[in-house]
Structure formats: C-alpha cells, structure tokens
C-alpha cells in the first residue's frame, strides 16, 4: 500500500469498485441482520417485559372499595353493618361542559361554596378517568334527581356504594369506634391507591381501628382502557370486591343499648361480664358521639360541642377513665384480710374517727358503727374497720390480692389504649416518689382512695372474679374467649364470707339496699362506693360538709358500684362508675342503675318497663337528648348558617388521637392526680373526709 508507486489504471479501478461494492453489499446485509436481530430480541426475548409495559400503559384500574365486615353481637345482631349509600362522583374525562355540569350539580345536590371549591380543586388534580367525589350520603330524592338528569350531564356518575351504619348510634360509639377517610399521612405511608378511592373508609377508633385488617376486605376493580391522554376508551372486565370478615363480639347488643340508655344523663360507664366465661356483655361509655355522623365526617360545630362538653363524650371512660375505686375495694380488702388470717368474726369498734399519729381519720358515718365484724364492715362500708385492720397488717399484704382480682391489670383486649391505673405498695412508692410508705398511705388505700386508681372495666373484673372465684380473663371477640379459667388462689371459704358481706350490702340492711332485685329467687350481691374529688377542709367539716347538690358538677363525688347476681351462684357481674354523680338523683344513682341493668339480664320486659317510666323525665332517649343538646348549642353559638357547619367534612381528626380528646381525658384524670398529690402531702381525703354517702339507705 505504498502511495506514490501505486498508479491506478482504469482496469484496476474497475477491480477496486467490484471489491468495494461487494464489501458494501456485505456490510449492508450485516447491518440488516443486526436490525433483524435487534427486533427479534425486543419482540421475542423481551416480549413478556414489553407486553407488560404495553398493558400497563393501556389499562387503568379503578378500585371498588370493599364492603366492610360487620360487627355482630353474640346473637348475630348487627352492631355495625353497611347501609346502601347513594353517592355522586364526577368522572373528569367524560365531562363535556364543566361549568354547566357543576352548576347543575350544585343546584341538584344543594352543594355549598366550600363543596364547590373542594370539587374544583380535586378536578384539577385528578387523572382523567379517576372519579372525583361530589357528594356522599345523598338523600334518595336528590339522588333520583341527579339520575334523571344524568343523560344531559355526561361525566356525572351517581353510584350506589356502601356506608358504615351503627344501628344503636351513640350507645356503641366507644365500643366500635368509627370509620373515616384515610388521612394524607396514611396514604403517604403505604401508597395504597385504595386509601384515596372515593367512598373508601377505614377504622379510626375503637374496634373499627384495631380490627381493621380483618374488617377491610379486598377491593374490587374496574379495569378500563385509556389513551395516553387519559381518555377513557372502553370498560373491560370488573372484578367484584371481597367483603371483610364479620367479627362476632361477646357483646349483647340489647344489653349494650339498654345500659347506655339506663345511664341517663350521667357521665358514666357500665361494664357487664359473664361470670362463667369472662365474656364482656356490654361496655358502655356515655355520653358519646354518634359514630354514624362521625363516619360521614362531622361538622366543626358538632366537634366543638363534643370537645367542650364537661361530660367528655369523646372519651372512652371504660378503658381510659381512671377513678379512685373508693369503697368498692372493701370486699377485696376483706378477702385479703381473711387470707392474712384475720378472724371474720373479730369485731372492731367504730366510734366515727380514728387517730393515727397526728391525723384523725373519719368514718363516713360520723356517729360510728359501734362494734362491727368483717361482713358488717362490708355491708355498712365501715371505714374504721378497714383502717384498723390494714393498719395492723400493712397495705403490702393487701396489694397482691388487689392485683389478683384484676386491679392495675392490663387486659388482652382489642383496644388501642387502656389506662390501667395503680395498685400502690411500699416498693411502688419507693420507686415512684422515693419516699417511705406511711401508715396514712395504707389507710387511704384501704378505702380505695389515695394512690389507688382503677378503670371501670377493672372494677367489673374484680366483681366477676370475686363472684366466680375464678381467674377469668375478660374477652370481647367470640373466637378469643378463654374458657377453663383456673380458680383464684384463695380459699373458697374466705370468698364465701366476702360474698356474704356483699349480699348483706343489698339484702341485709347495708348501703346498697336500693339495688335489691325484684325478681323471684334472684338476689344481688354488690358494693357501693364513693370517690371524693376534692378536699374537705377542717373548717368546712366544722360548719357542716357541703351537700353534693350544692357543688358545681366538677367538684361532686364520683359514684361507683360493683355487683354480681345471683348472689348464691353468680352468673353475671357488673361495674358502674358515674363521674361527679354525687348521689344527687336517686334514679340516676348507681344502685338503681345497677339493679336495672342486672334485671335486664334476667327479665328484659321488666327492665324495659322500668326504663320507660323514668327515661321521659330525663328528656327522652339518647337520640332525642343529643339532638336537643345540639340544637341548644347551635342556638347558643349562633352558628353562621349551615354552610359553615357542613364545610371541611372529611378530615375530622380521630378523637383518640386528637388533642381535644387527650385534653378531655387528661382533665378528667387531673382531679384524681390532684387528690393524689394532696395525699402525698399528708392530707388525704380519708384523714379529713368521708367517702361514703350517709343518705344511701
């Protein structure tokens, strides 16, 4: 290939051309082969991959929210079910004239300015085929009106969906909780597209929240073909939803509603257990919000009203209310004394007061009970007997028994939050306050005051365990009932003596005579209790202790009650706590409420008849009273037209998480803590005041 010497001739040129043309042809075939190979690689080897990409381009899924599993009671009656919900959505892609459509919808559905603003915001962000919510829980009339005009309003989709429904309303609020649209954070966490599907609701509180996984079900899907610009081309197959599992509770829906009504205007709670199995038959905390309206999204006004209410309707008092159990611990004390070897027939003289060190501890009966034995002390709720006996033995002998019967215990129940209170002893105080346990601490604890705090469920468990003599575990889900509970580690004789004392409370001239059952052959065993939430000064004591009725609501005593029946062979046990009840109205006080709830279990008709007589005097049933309260509140706050009230529907914060609820719960527990710190300063209610009303019986 030496340049200068090589001289091309025409012949050589022809030869070069042929060779190079052949080379060129070969190269062209080579390139052609590469292209064919590349195409085959894409279309054959990678076919599956690209097919998938092509399909995911083409097909979009619109989820159909699954029907939520029902919550049913022990007999199969619905506690939470799904009712047909008429809703109207807008499919942006099919809308022809947006302004005209929105104007028509506004008129047809009576939408507010806020609604319109939300809809146009949603429309801006929505992909073309993804439905945008216009209104849910639409009345049949309006829904029908939209349906009639649907042909001239393309893009408007009136759909029948399902919405959560709680037939008993507020009566089950704190049991079931409620449902609501997923929050933005929840969606960000999981990126689950179901969470932002219109009409989908998830559990926000109570069982709805803790059983979310079981109740949710699997969404159905509508597959649609769309163009690159999101335009809907065709609807393909639809996969039906798979409803969530029905959850059967141990609750008796009838009893639950009855107890809720029977609590009347009280701020209180009632828990009933089956003494054979530990099944929870009712769990009521009243007043409560209406979970139906909560699930639809509540108004600001309603929310404000609920959080301002001093009866704390947003708080589940059963698991989160902590109260000094007061005299309801006395049967448990008695059991502990017997277990420690105290002779049940030994008498202690009650002269109305006991001097310990520098302090004077009073009995609720100022004149004293005279010489009194253990059964009598339970029946009469004599403070001095227990002061004296616990002073001798020390509270450290009592605390283990308190724990054994269920105080201070956290149960395995499907609730997100349980406040389980305190059973104090010397080691606990050493740990918590770095101070020595004093005799005064023992005496305060012996009458269920001082450091002792319990929630209403624990009180009911205590009644159940003492009544049955078994270490029953409370249960709420039918498939989690723990049968074959072992016996309590106490002598059956001692338990019998305590039960006799509790029988006397009702039937032997004790403090709970008002709770006597008017049922042939069935007797109630019970214990009353009063928990003071304020100090009574020596000055007040001298001039006469103020009557509870004279005090503002927040300063009145709590009323407590535990019971079981039949007394000779316990079948049911209950615990009732009424906040700031003050024993002011007889038919709203614990003994009569306890009596009626227990009566319901044996004779429904009789119990309902009794309720029918008194309920009208409280202003009607729960719904009537709630409606009246809301109307009054609305009038008082001069709500600026329902427009404001109906705004900001969807994002009502979850009550248990909301600060307002925390505050409500804390505030109501703050009273207890205040007394606790008083006690820590050596001025316990026992040393200065009474714990038992002298007017009950």
């Amino acid at each position: 290939m030496s340049r200068p010497t090589r001289i091309a001739t025409e012949a050589q040129q022809g030869y070069t051309f042929s060779r190079r043309a052949w080379l060129l042809g070969a190269a062209q075939i080579g390139v052609g082969t590469v292209l064919a190979g590349r195409m085959s690689w894409l279309a054959i080897a990678e076919n599956e991959h690209y097919k998938l990409l092509s399909e995911s381009n083409r097909i979009n899924m619109t989820l159909i929210p699954p029907r939520r599993g029902w919550l049913v009671d022990r007999h199969g009656h619905a506690i939470a079910d799904n009712r047909t919900d008429f809703r109207v959505d807008l499919i942006p892609d099919r809308v022809v004239d947006k302004d005209r459509t929105l104007a028509a919808l506004r008129e047809l559905l009576a939408l507010t300015d806020e609604d319109m603003l939300r809809i146009s915001e949603d429309l801006k962000q929505a992909a073309g085929f993804q439905p945008v919510k216009v209104a849910e829980n639409v009345g049949w009339e309006r829904f029908a009106a939209v349906q009639v005009r649907q042909p001239e309003l393309p893009g408007v989709a009136p759909t029948r969906g399902f919405a959560r429904h709680y037939p008993a309303g507020a009566a089950v609020a704190h049991l079931t909780g409620y449902v609501g649209s997923a929050s933005a954070e929840q969606y960000k966490e999981t990126k689950n597209p179901l969470l932002v599907t219109p009409g989908f609701k998830l559990g926000k509180d109570g069982l709805e929240k803790t059983l979310e996984d079981e109740l949710r079900g699997k969404p159905g899907a509508k597959r649609i073909e769309v163009t690159a610009r999101g335009k809907l081309v065709a609807e393909l197959s639809t996969r039906p939803d798979q409803p969530g599992q029905t959850q059967r509770l141990t609750i008796d829906a009838g009893l639950q509603e009855y107890a809720a009504r029977r609590l009347g205007t009280n701020s209180g709670s009632a828990v009933v257990f089956d003494c054979l199995t530990g099944e929870m038959l009712c769990m009521v905390s009243m007043p409560a919000y209406d979970p139906n309206s909560f699930s639809d999204g509540i108004s600001h006004l309603e929310w404000k009203m609920l959080s301002a209410d001093d009866h704390v309707p947003l708080m589940n008092k059963v698991t989160q209310g902590l109260y000094p159990p007061g005299s309801t611990v006395k049967p448990m004390n008695g059991l502990a004394l017997l277990e420690a070897g105290v002779d049940p027939n030994e008498r202690v003289f009650c002269g109305g007061a006991l001097r310990v060190g520098t302090g004077v501890f009073h009995c609720h009966k100022r004149r004293g009970h005279g010489a009194i034995d253990l059964r009598g002390a339970i029946a009469q709720s004599c403070d001095i007997y227990f002061y004296e006996m616990v002073r001798r033995l020390g509270y450290d002998r009592i605390a283990p028994v308190a724990k054994a019967v269920g105080l201070g215990e956290k149960y395995d129940l499907p609730f997100a939050t349980q406040r389980y209170g305190t059973v104090p002893d010397s080691a606990w105080k050493e740990r918590k306050y770095k101070t020595k346990w004093t005799v005064a601490d023992s005496l305060n604890a012996s009458i269920g005051q001082g450091y002792v705090l319990a929630n209403p469920m624990q009180l009911a468990v205590m009644a159940m365990r003492i009544g049955s003599g078994k270490l029953l575990q409370p249960s709420l889900l039918m498939d989690k009932v723990a049968r074959n509970a072992p016996p309590l580690p106490f002598s059956e004789d001692n338990l019998r003596i305590v039960r006799e004392g509790m029988w006397q409370v009702v039937n032997g001239g004790g403090t709970g005579g008002a709770s006597r059952l008017y049922l042939p052959g069935i007797e109630l065993a019970a214990k009353t209790g009063t928990a003071q939430v304020r100090r009574i000064t020596m000055a007040e004591r001298r001039s006469g202790v103020l009557n509870n009725a004279q005090l503002p609501f927040k300063l009145r005593d709590h009323a407590l009650f535990i019971c079981f029946a039949p007394a000779d062979n316990p079948r049911y046990a209950a615990g009732i706590v009424l906040e700031h009840n003050g024993h002011t109205v007889r038919n709203l006080d614990t003994p009569m409420i306890g009596r009626d709830i227990m009566t319901y279990l044996f004779d429904k008709e009789k119990a309902l008849k009794a309720l029918a007589q008194v309920e009208p005097t409280w202003g009607g049933d729960i719904r009537t009273r709630m409606a009246a309260q809301e109307a009054a509140y609305r009038a008082a706050t001069e709500a600026p037209a329902p427009a404001q009230a109906a705004a900001t529907e969807t994002d009502a914060p979850a009550p248990t998480r909301a600060p307002a609820v925390e505050q409500a719960t804390d505030a109501s527990n703050a009273a207890q803590e205040a007394t606790v710190s008083d006690i820590a300063n050596g001025a316990g209610p026992a040393s200065v005041g009474t714990t038992e009303p002298s007017d009950t019986q």
């Binding site: 290939m1 340049r3 090589r6 001289i7 091309a8 001739t9 025409e10 050589q12 040129q13 022809g14 070069t16 051309f17 042929s18 190079r20 043309a21 060129l24 042809g25 062209q28 075939i29 390139v31 052609g32 590469v34 292209l35 064919a36 590349r38 195409m39 085959s40 894409l42 279309a43 054959i44 990678e46 076919n47 991959h49 690209y50 097919k51 990409l53 092509s54 399909e55 381009n57 083409r58 073909e225 769309v226 163009t227 690159a228 610009r229 081309v233």
Partner: protein, 370 residues
Amino acid sequence: MSGFSIVPAPVARLPWRMLLLVIGIATFGLVILYSAAGGNVRPWALSQGIRFFVFLAGALVISRLPENFWRQVALPGYALFVLLLFAVELLGAVRGGSQRWLDLGFIRLQPSELMKPMIVLACARFYEMLPPNETRRFGGIWPPALLIGLPAGLVMLQPDLGTALMITAGGLTVMFLAGVPLRLFVGGALALAVAAPLAVNFLLHDYQRNRVLIFMDPESDPLGTGYHISQSKIAIGSGGISGKGFLNGTQSHLDYLPEGHTDFVFATMAEEWGVLGGLFIIIGYLMVIRWGVNVGVQAQSRFAKLTAAGLATTIFFYVAINLAMVMGLAPVVGIPLPLVSFGGSAQMTVFLCLGILMSIDRDNRREKNW
C-alpha cells in the same frame, strides 16, 4: 438482478422483481397507515396511495431517460440545489426559526431532501472526470470533500442533523467506491470517534444534543424525548413474533406511540404484525438495495457504476437509520422510513433514486442485448 426479458416489449424489460418488491412494501405501508388512522383511509392512507402512484409513474418516466442525461445534469443540478439551500437558509433567516422548504406554490420543495441523490450524482461525475491515477492522490479527495461539506454544512445550519448525516454518508460512499484509500476511512472513523463527543458538546443544538444524550439513556427522560424511544420499544417488543393483529395495536391506537404514522411507523407496524412483518420490510428492502448495487456492478461507465451503488446505498441509509432509531439503536434524528412513513419528500427521493437506477439498468441491458 435483472430478469430475462421473455416478452420483447419495453414493459417486459422493466426490472419487475424489484418493482414488485417496491409495490409490496408500499402497499404494506398503506395498510399500516390505514390502521394507524384507526381503520380509516383518511387522513393518511389515501393521499399516500395517490402519491405513490404518481411517484411510481414518475420513476418509470425517468427510467426512459438515457444514462447520459444524468451525466450532463449531475454537476449543474448539484449547483442548483446548493443555491436553493442557500435560498432556504436566507428565507429562514428572514422568517425566523428553522426552515427546510421553499414554497413554490404548487409544491413545497425541500432542497435538502433532493440533495441526497444529487450529492451521489455529483461525486460520481467528479470521479468519472478524474484521471484514474489521481484517485488516490490529494487532488482526488479535496474536491469531493468540498462537494459534500458545502451542502452538509448548509443543512446542518437549518438545523437538520439527520439529513446532513445522510448527505455526508452518501458522498462518502461514492468516495469509498471510487477507490479513495481505505486508511483515510479507517483514520476518519477513528478521528470521528474522538471528535464525536466534542461535536456533541459544541456543535449541536441543545435539542440535538439532548436527543443524543437521551439516546444513551432513554429512561433518564421518560416523559420527554426519551418517551419516543421507550414507547417505540414497547410497541415493537409487545408485538411478539406475529403481532397483536391488524387494527389491534394499542400503543399506536391509544396514542402512546408518538409519530406513529411518520418516523415511528415501523413501530406501529411491528406492534400489529410482529417480527414477521419486520422481516418482510427488512428483507424486502435489502433485496431492493442489493438489486441497486448489482445494477452498479453490471454498469459499464464509471459514472453509472458509482451512481447506481451510491443511490442504492442512499436508500439503505434511510432504512437503516430509521430502523436503528425506532429500535433504540440510534438517536432520534428524524429520518423517515421511505415508502412506509407518511409524507412525500422521502418517497419522492426514493423514487428518484429508483428511476435513475432503472434508467442505468435499462442501458446495462441494452448494451448486453446488443
């Protein structure tokens, strides 16, 4: 390969094998355009079909012209189109923005398009006039380099990278066939490998540079320019061996594939006809191109040899660059698939090439027969 002429008539003397292939490819193209319009002859298939017959007739008319006509027209024609390129550039400067065509009233003439065959004619004519012993010398290299560089540069200014590349490639092909030393091509390729990254960085327009960069990594820009390549690969890949069936392509019908009737028509085809349809087009074109190269091999004059092989290779560049582009092997440079893509310019160029090839073929046979 010219067939034996059994019937002694001008019709029988036509290269029927090639023509049938071309008609086959173009008809397949019409079927694809019919599908791309959602099963409608409008707006594309009908006008494309009419144009096809007009251009085919034109090519047959041109094929009657003697080889010598092309020899005479080569250099003046080249000069004319360079002037037109200048005109376009000036008009573009006046009107603002990039302009590629001249509006002559009855037709929009795109001079850069016709420059593709013209550069082949001009270079072939140059080497015919060049004394054989000059071919390997500097004197045989710089004039064609200038012939190529001038129009390529003007087209580059429009800016139209794809066409500039094709003009350059067409000219270089003729230089290669004429016998310019191989080491220059090897050296040039090496130099290009070094210079290309620099050119990408400094010479190209932003949108061109983007296309090149995105070609390297289409997924980096799934919604912008890379979207074209990604969607095209999905269309081809999802077609499988025999495709989704006529009128069943979802990528094209649901608008996921952009330019599905023009530059990316091959992807539209591949989705519905699969690898089998693709092989038909690739093999069909290779046979047409092979026929063209063979016309060159059998031609007597140096001009005819270089022209025929050069024009055949020009058609090859169209097809190869377009297919490489839609399969994600080359950047998106806007080269259509002739006879199949909707649009007149490329079709006209290809039929001009085929017409000249047929006219050379005719001369070849006449000489053989005589």
